[in-house]
Amino acid sequence: MAEVSAAAVGLTTADGRPLRTALATAQQRAKRRAFLLVLPLLAFIVITFIVPIGQMMHQAVYNDGFSANMPRLSAWFAEHPVGTDPDEPAWQALALDLQDAATAKTAGVVGTRVNYQMSGTRSLFTSTARKAKDFAPPYRDAVIAADKKWDDPELWGTMRQVSRAYSLNFFLAALDMTQDRQGMIVAMPEDRQIYVDLFVKTFLLAGLITLTCFLLGFPIAHLLATLPLRWSNLLMILVLLPFWTSLLVRTTSWIVLLQQQGVVNSALVATGVITEEGRLQMIYNQMGTIIAMTHILLPFMILPLYSVMRPIPPSYVRAARSLGATSWTAFRRIYLPQTLPGIGAGSLLVFILAVGYYITPALVGGASGQLISNLIAFHMQDSLNWSLASALAALLLGAVLVLYWLYDRLVGIDNLKLG
């Protein structure tokens, strides 16, 4: 009874302060100190990670290339429903906006934005803007006189789409889809569908690389875990060696080894396995990507496996053997299940790294060995369509998160042992 009433009243310290408050005060200093210690890291993560990712996600749905530079026309689109034919005020808005754009030298920006949705329109905007200062009413005739292509319902439909800064157009494009004039979502023409296939290929190749890493890494990890310390240390150095050499050096050495005039081909020719004409194409294609990335990602498979295998005492397998299991059964039923957390961690790590890998496919992948990240880089650096690059990257991030979630549902994230 006494305890119940004490709890109801709330315990107090000897000098009469409530216990809860006293505890909080007592711990505050330590908490503040701890927070100050992690503050630099927190700031670092926010500045270099959270903010850029947030910006990327924003960029994927936001592009004001049109709306900011063509305010009158954007307003007209906002006031009139889909399907309204452009009337004189619309043409006037277009003409005046083009005049302003010519002065502000932003016609290229506007054209680029429209061009993302409908190719071949960028020059229309720049050339018409050059003539825009002479436009006089009636504007419809003036604009069409400047270029007949303005009299095109599809162009107007496209301009309506891009007149809003926020849109899902880039996500649609990243999924090989687009909006037609009525705003319905339809598939891209067959010859312009590239991203979905590339996503599928990226995931398949990443899966394949994960599998080869597992097949190659499992025995090595086992060896590492069971060899006497002296030998396992040496082997560990060999496993870690790739980490200590530059990625470029490693990738370049694969080129030296695998190219058509390279070491492997020459050795095969010299031993008569293949003829001079039959030199194998092992690099600048998918094969090159798979070989080089397996090599680079192998340690990420081996280390989690090793850390799970090391503490498994040999007596488990011995016990299984003494109970009548063949060495294969003992491995399959007793050893393998205990390494599952390591297999899960290694596979997840390798797969996620492989899905987003960029430099190696770029160097040794040729045309067929390119992954989705290479295309993201292309849109970042060459086509300068950052919004599409962001949409692709966001989709990739989403896919990886879904994968992570699936893993958690199927295996359980607590079963993950990274080292």
Binding site: P313, Y316, R321, S322, L323, A330
Partner: protein, 366 residues
Amino acid sequence: MSVSHADAFVAFEHVQKSYDGVSLVVKDLNLSIAKGEFLTMLGPSGSGKTTCLMMLAGFETATNGEIKLDGTNINMVPPHKRGIGMVFQNYALFPHMTVGENLSFPLEVRGMGKADREAKVKRALDMVQMGAFANRRPAQLSGGQQQRIALARALVFDPKLVLMDEPLGALDKQLREHMQFEIKHLHESLGITVVYVTHDQGEALTMSDRIAVFNDGRIQQLAPPAELYERPDNSFVAGFIGENNKLPGTIEELSGDKALVRLATGERIEATPVNVTQKGQKTLVSIRPERVEFKPEMMPDDAHMIGAEVLEVIYMGDILRTVLRVAGSDDFVMKMRNTLGQTKLVPGQKIRVGWDPLDARALDPI
């Protein structure tokens, strides 16, 4: 009990084992174990007990010599075909399986049907009073419970031979004593042959039919517990099993089963010769502390008496441990039962102690 090589169930014949090719961990092991026997390998850590057990189980290969099971050489038989049950020191219960699955495993790999398996698993669990725990994971059991499960798993497929490597090493004293009793009981009721490894002499003495005392890769003595305790063959065995007083001296006379030993202080005592062969040899005479008496009326007629000075009396509850100076050695111990009216000795007191010459054993020449 002595077992000839011919009718032995398990036989080690001239077995040697080296791990590194430089030194021998097991040096010429000869050991025959009868069917149904409880044999204990007892010895200090590193003496090669586990190695012997592992060779018998098939996890280590003998570098030389033969190991026979039921008359056939099993040197080349892989572990899973030997049909030997084994209890490991850390139990080695499979952590990802329930208790029931652990026990079912040896039956599954033998291709037994589900119904038979369940019946056998239940019987084995009931045998160790763990019937209610079939669905637990090993991690959810206490040390003693895990021990029982390990025992049940080693027995569930009805092996004729069961090996146990320090199975009780991780348990507290009380539980250990209880489990000793249960293992012994199971051994008797099932009629299995047990090879048991321990470094605990008390455990070895209470459980075994015979004990093989290991040291440095050799069997120092192979004998039933009482004989081992009362008639140790050499000073290692005498020192390893139970407490022991050692008096150094020289053989003066030697005739059959009697020897006269002159101690360092010049006193002469009678002793039973064990490892000494000739006059003039130096020797260690070993006497158990509980066989030392100081009341003349308690001593046999031909008991030998010698002067002693009380140095210390330690009260230990059931006994009074008295440290004496005898024949120049300051660590001669006498154990007196703490009976009603036991004489109180005080440090500095001069007394005379004695013992039956049969209990004074002249061991190894030194």
